[in-house]
Subunit: 140 residues, 2 copies
Amino acid sequence: MKKITIGDAARQSGVKVPTIRYYESIGLLAAPSRSEGNQRSYEVSDIRRLAFVRHARELGFEVDAIRALLTLQDDPHQSCASADAIAKARLIEVEQRIRSLTALKAELETMVEGCCHGRVDQCRVIEILADHGQCMHDHH
Amino acid sequence: MKKITIGDAARQSGVKVPTIRYYESIGLLAAPSRSEGNQRSYEVSDIRRLAFVRHARELGFEVDAIRALLTLQDDPHQSCASADAIAKARLIEVEQRIRSLTALKAELETMVEGCCHGRVDQCRVIEILADHGQCMHDHH
DNA sequence: TCTTGCACCTCTAGTGACTAGAGGATGTAG
DNA sequence: CTACATCCTCTAGTCACTAGAGGTGCAAGA
């Protein structure tokens, strides 16, 4: 067995070194074996697990959701209904978030277009922020 | 002058009571005068300022950006170029965020569609998360 | 007048998901 | 053998709040 240091694990998985230690501390990754000199020594399966976590984090899953997904992954004979439910819930969140960001974008565009490029007292950026009544969008 | 309690200020501005005290502590809102019994007493202008902050926060501006906008608002004779720049920067952020969330949405849809509703070892939700190489979108 | 009960006060600590830094040990290349 | 990178643990900081403890102020009903 070749030993994978935490630095190599970080490079291969794309998860930063302190973050790997953090994941270990919150129980997302099992504590690996140690070398003579007390340095962490990872297996290839740990790298895969880290890559899984990283990808899920990039997709915006919370650590608790990832923990649930990892539990499923560890026991591949159970039903995937939970994984499906987690992904679906996240999809709904994402759709909602896109809707509200799109409304927000329109509002920011109005602000920027309305900027007179002159003095603050004629500027719609400040004006729109100051008066929520001018906000037509129900992004909030 | 009628005195506005912190509770009324919260109701009128939509900013929660502890959040108002927090904003005071970080210098976003000046410390108001106090009643005999040491209770905060706000002016109408404070309510407006709080509503301004709330709206800007809802639009996703960070507290530091809001601090800059408030400084501009306090001196309406200066150029609005800074306000414009802050709003434009936020607009770019929002557009970027929408793009990456849209890519993410597509990926989540692939996951959910690919779910066999059977066992985990045939489930694309887990599979796609486990293998980032299957992710075609450069949302990250 | 008393009491009930809500709203207010300050202060500390917790949240999520890390990130930064101190201070020291280990491992490797020249 | 000596640099120097990498590793170790531990604590504290980030952001924008939120929660809770423990105590005070105040207005209305009995």
